[in-house]
């Protein structure tokens, strides 16, 4: 193929214009979605969780989470003592394939699904030196993976251990609250796959969301409230032994 100087002079500015569009990012995927009208959170109903691991598998399938890394995982607590500081906690492979059968009936057992708390005052976003992680205007903690350096400051800063360095991409990775789904009117993959309704996506700015009523009329708690992170993963039936 022969390109004359004349063609090249036409092609170069055209390529420059095209590059501007590439730089500006992909066009808005959901034109009917207004970020200012939403403020996302999650309700986790501990007495309903049966520890099947559906959420962990669904999350891995939806988000291509590498083996051995978790955006969400389930812990099983066993508290036999009145002293709540020494619970027995297991989470084999993040609870991905469920839990071993518990024979011992003494004490209390419960499952605690964990995930990013999508904190409003998130410590992880505050430590990022390059502005690669942020709380979006609709309250979701996201990572711009094209901007992340992989320094892992945020991994250390998260008090809930919800972040990891992606083993092949070499950048920070975490729960996006299935941002690609919730902006299209779907629920998250973990909520979609939960058979008992133990996990519910909550739009805290939408008063007609049924979760609003639940949050207003039930005692709920967040993890590590003393950290003042503004966590938005609300737990119903949370035991004091959960860390």
């Amino acid at each position: 193929m022969n390109i004359s100087r004349r063609h090249l002079l036409i092609l170069l500015p055209a390529a420059a214009v095209a590059w501007k569009f590439v730089e500006a990012g992909t066009p808005e995927a959901s034109p009917n979605y207004q970020m200012s009208e939403h403020w996302w959170g999650m309700l986790i109903n501990i007495p309903k969780c049966i520890g099947c691991g559906n959420c962990v598998r669904a999350c891995a399938a939806e988000n291509d989470v590498p083996d051995g890394y978790f955006r969400t995982w389930v812990e099983r607590y066993h508290v036999t003592d009145t002293n709540m500081t020494t619970p027995e906690v297991i989470s084999p492979d993040g609870g991905k394939e469920g839990f071993p059968v518990a024979q011992e009936d003494a004490g209390k057992y419960f499952f605690v699904p964990k995930m990013c708390n999508h904190c409003a005052d998130s410590p992880c976003t505050q430590v990022c030196p390059v502005g690669a992680t942020f709380v979006s205007p609709d309250g979701v903690v996201l990572i711009d993976q094209t901007y992340c350096l992989g320094c892992a400051y945020c991994v250390q800063a998260c008090p809930y251990g919800c972040r990891y360095l992606h083993p092949t991409k070499r950048v920070a990775d975490k729960c996006t609250l299935c941002y690609h789904r919730i902006t299209k009117g779907l629920t998250t993959a973990c909520c979609e796959a939960c058979p008992t309704g133990a996990r519910q996506l909550a739009d805290l700015k939408n008063p007609s969301d049924p979760i609003h009523e639940f949050l207003k009329t039930h005692p709920v708690q967040v993890l590590k409230p003393q950290m003042a992170t503004g966590a938005k993963a609300y737990y119903f039936g949370l035991d004091g032994s959960v860390r």
Binding site: K20, E23, A24, G25, T26, P27, E28, A29, S30, Y33, M35, P47, K48, C49, I50, G51, C52, G53, N54, A58, A61, E62, R76, H78, G98, F99, V101, A102, Q103, E104, D105, Y109, F110, F111, G131, A132, T133, F134, V135, S136, P137, L142, D144, T146, Y147, T176, Y179, H180, R181, T183, K184, L186, T187, A189, E192, A193, C194, P195, T196, G197
Partner: protein, 165 residues
């Protein structure tokens, strides 16, 4: 005037600073993405890029659009609030192309046991059985219709008989 003449080297030096500053501003304009700072100290376009990823779980509303018979069976039973893909897995690919992507039916011996295997750790009000004692290797759907599991609750054990109606 002799004072200013002696200060010429200072003006040249100041000029160097001005040129360097302009060069910095020009470079910065090129290097910093256009949408950086649109919503905060981050690249605003990243939000759209994250939102543009394809979904893999179609969502039960999509399934129920075609599989109306199964949806009807389900609403009457104990599994009414168990979403389709909780058992059948992520099937947006099937919803996008129902003819060429035909998912295999799950093995009930593995699938049902995931939730219903008895364990002291599970909530007491959740229905649980000891798999070996309860059916000893007989597939669950022999007696139960997974879409409405109570025995005798509907037309009998006829799990997922058809495709989309």
């Amino acid at each position: 005037m002799s004072g200013l003449k002696d200060a010429g080297h200072l003006f040249r030096f100041a000029g160097l600073f001005v040129v360097a500053f302009i060069a910095f501003l020009v470079l910065r304009g090129y290097v910093v993405p256009k949408t950086f700072g649109q919503y905060g100290h981050y690249r605003g376009a990243a939000i759209g890029q994250i939102a543009a990823r394809p979904v893999k779980f179609a969502g039960h509303q999509t399934c129920e659009g075609c599989h109306t018979d199964i949806a009807d069976t389900k609403t009457k039973g104990a599994h009414a609030h168990v979403n389709c893909e909780a058992c059948h897995g992520a099937l947006a690919s099937h919803a996008d192309d129902p003819t060429s992507v035909t998912p295999a039916k799950p093995d009930t011996l593995v699938l049902c046991a995931r939730c219903h295997t008895a364990s002291a750790a599970k909530p007491k009000d959740f229905p649980q059985v000891d798999p070996t004692e309860h059916m000893g290797g007989v597939p669950c759907q022999t007696c139960h219709n997974p879409h409405s599991p109570a025995i005798g609750s509907d037309a009998g054990a006829n799990p997922a008989a058809g495709g989309a109606k």
